[in-house]
Symmetry: C3
Subunit: 354 residues, 3 copies
């Protein structure tokens, strides 16, 4: 596709400095871009590339006033970039299949919206509902009575168990499992008896879920992922967990049963949370943190067991300094012994003096 | 299904306090239950709901003597609940497909028991044996010479590699892989040469394995998961590991090669164990613990590197207190300097006195 | 298959001590081996088995001079073992299907090399290229324009997204996902907007990837796994990561976006690395380490936050000793108080004396 810089600036609402009539034919990273490409500069560490890039134009922040190439100044270059890909270079995005492949198996009373695409060997259970424009890749399993909204995108080999409900514009990457049984047992005389997991999972609109994620169904009621939350690869979400709106859960984090995460929270990579606690709105859990009690809103915790981050940093500094502290204490001990020796000697001399 | 409270009390062996003739039509959590439902109260933190629940009856422990609703007093309300779901509300449990789907592919000399169910696009290799009433969901791969016992339940997209043996009543959730090659290489001049993994995996009766779990086959001999052990999502079990009977392995834990876990052990979430160690019967490994040496039976370890838990707690308390310790040491240093200054002054005055 | 010990010794370049004419019919671990088997002794802890093993012959290192059984002395018994399996006992290795199964779906303009094997219900997208002798198991998804080299081996239910490039002799275990979208969002007024991930993944020759691994595609350009690197189960590799040649990444480790790993590096199990750092050649990251800054070549780091290993060990020893340090400081404090009391008393007596 071809667009002039003027058309692009209009589309993203930015201001051009330089030749507005140049033609853009592609989009690329600042280091890899070539003639004809537009690129963008969001991270200041790439500033040195602004005059070196092979791109024909650059989307920048308002901080940049001019460059040796034409630029489009915007409030948020990353956001502008996120928007223009489908405008300038839709061919750079993943191309999905269309239509219902003849090998796809649809159960009885399945309801499909307009322009649904279902790949080869996907299986859709009885009474499932799939909304308009949703795309299901090959090898997916969609259980009976599952509801999927509009504009969904489920990559290959995703498994959605029965009765799960999924909103609009939800993206699920390959290998992910939604609605497996919660891990619940009652132990009698050291044997573990399975507690039936009768609840479900609800995934609200605009959620994205990475590859090989596991989200378990609730014992009763529901495990709930609220609107706009983004989940990375290999994350574990146990039964009855609730994750609030617009939260971020980074790869390999794990949330134990019945824990409640607020809105806008961030769980960094490999963080682990025990069950039955709550994490407040906008709280940040640092990478690898082991969270054993509830975390107040708008705070950051780190370490194991997780503590308020500034305190954890202070304690960490203390820990790093321990070899010196041991030396100090050893010196103090020696010093005290010296003082005591002197005092004993002084006393003797005082005695002799006396 | 409809049952009277009397029928339910008889089935679970409990004692009714209140109207034994009321009719129960469903089962639900104490917070979500409605008229007609029976619920249960096991966790004391839900005690406030005993008079607020919408349920028509409650299964309680012997501690509870009466309530505003009819109750059934039992030894173990969780266990009673686990039992009655299929008695009262079988429709609340997952409904599985039946029969061999015409698209299922069976290799040569496959042996199927009575009432086996195999979903669409499942693939069963040559000489595989699947026992009575076992259910294989769509997209599963069962390798050649795999043996699966009776009453197995394998959800969608499970992969079982060749020659693996699986007992009776084993449940495996979606995306799980049993029998992938152990991670073994011999490194010569910095190149890694694959060591063939010629062994297998044996999963005994009554094991349950969560979603997206990886259990590797042995180099020789077998990786072994003994009877009654329950494994949560995203767990890694390396080659030649042995896990004893009735152990619990929580989500995202990982066990390195040739490590041996006893009976009744618990590995909490994200715990990691090095290879070639042993964990004794009934030992508990705390969440995120990094276990670098063998753990005696009936002990609990935590932290990194993992230590005996009560010691780890003590050390943790010391660590948390470090900023104060540093202050104390600074004060002591100052105090000693003062004493020394005084002593020097005293000596001078003593000298002058002398 | 039958081989004489002489044939085997010639094949691996070793020296026989004992009867060179005995016939070997199988291969097995030193503990499990029986008459007719050859076994090997690499790990000194198995030395006591050298005279107990049921094997008919043993491959040993040059350190061993003789045994009660015939031996083949070699430079590296593990390497010798790795080589001879296909020579002596090819029937012990996994047996794969051959040919293109009639249910495999090939898109338009797919190019297949010689003797490619594609299992049932595998799906290969348009313009994909699969090299000679490569084996694709059932349920695999190979996206459009994917390139796979010669002698590849992809087990069941692997998902390879569009445009990914994979070299020769690459092994990928079940459930693994290559080319899922990188986890990139731009957040405006607390809503997260997806940043298109337009790049790809390149996997070079001789890489092996375990089961249920997730490797994300790059935002632009590529995520790159270089030649000879071996990756264990459940590993997460984020967008734009580069892993150098012949590195080892153990189970459940995670690497955040744009981090660069050198050649010959080792990331032990459950290690986690933040994004945008580099790890030098031959560096070792200990298990569960939380790496927050770049790691120089040829060093080892451990702990959270990860520090140079010998320093971390020293600090750990200090931490373990903290209860004693607290006692020491308490004693010092008491001692100082005593000294002060004595000094005050001495001064008084000096005063009285004066």
């Amino acid at each position: 596709m071809q667009k002039t810089l003027k058309e692009i600036a209009k589309f993203i609402g930015g201001e051009i400095v330089g030749d507005a009539d140049i033609v853009i034919t592609g989009i690329c990273g600042i280091k890899e871009a070539q003639k004809g490409d537009i690129t963008f500069l969001a991270n200041p560490k790439y500033l040195p590339f602004i005059d070196k890039t092979g791109a024909s134009a650059i989307i920048t922040s308002r901080q940049i006033e001019r460059a040796s190439k034409p630029i489009i100044r915007t409030e948020d270059p990353s956001l502008a970039f996120a928007k223009i890909v489908s405008f300038i270079a839709p061919e750079a995005e993943a191309k999905h299949h269309t239509g219902i492949h003849p090998t796809a198996i649809l159960g009885k009373n399945v309801s499909l919206g307009k322009d649904v695409a279902i790949g080869p060997y996907a299986v859709v259970g009885d009474y499932a509902i799939i909304g308009d424009n949703s795309i299901i890749y090959s090898g997916c399993f969609i259980g009976h009575h599952v509801k999927i909204g509009n504009n969904g995108l489920f990559y290959s080999n995703v498994s959605i168990r029965e009765n799960v409900t999924i909103g609009d514009r939800v993206i699920i990457h390959s290998g992910t499992v939604i609605g497996s049984d919660g891990f619940g047992f009652v132990t009698v005389k050291s044997k573990h008896h399975k507690i039936p997991q009768l609840g479900t999972v609800i995934i609200e609109d605009d959620v994205e879920i990475g590859s090989n994620v596991s989200i378990d169904r609730a014992r009763f009621d529901k495990t709930l992922i609220c609107r706009g939350t983004k989940i990375d690869n290999l994350v574990h979400i146990a039964h009855n967990v609730i994750v609030g709106e617009n939260s971020i859960i980074v790869a390999q984090a794990g949330i134990s049963g019945s824990t409640i995460i607020g809105r806008g929270a961030t769980l960094a990579g490999q963080a682990g949370l025990v069950g039955h606690i709550s994490v407040g709105d906008n709280a940040v859990i640092a990478a690898q943190a082991g969270v054993t009690k509830s975390v107040p809103a708008n705070t950051m915790v780190s370490g194991y067991p997780a503590r308020e981050h500034s305190k954890a940093l202070k304690i960490n500094a203390c820990v790093q300094n321990l070899p010196k502290l041991y030396e100090s204490v050893t010196k103090l001990k020696k010093k005290i012994e010296e003082l005591e020796t002197r005092m004993n000697a002084d006393n003797k001399s005082a005695d002799s003096c006396g």
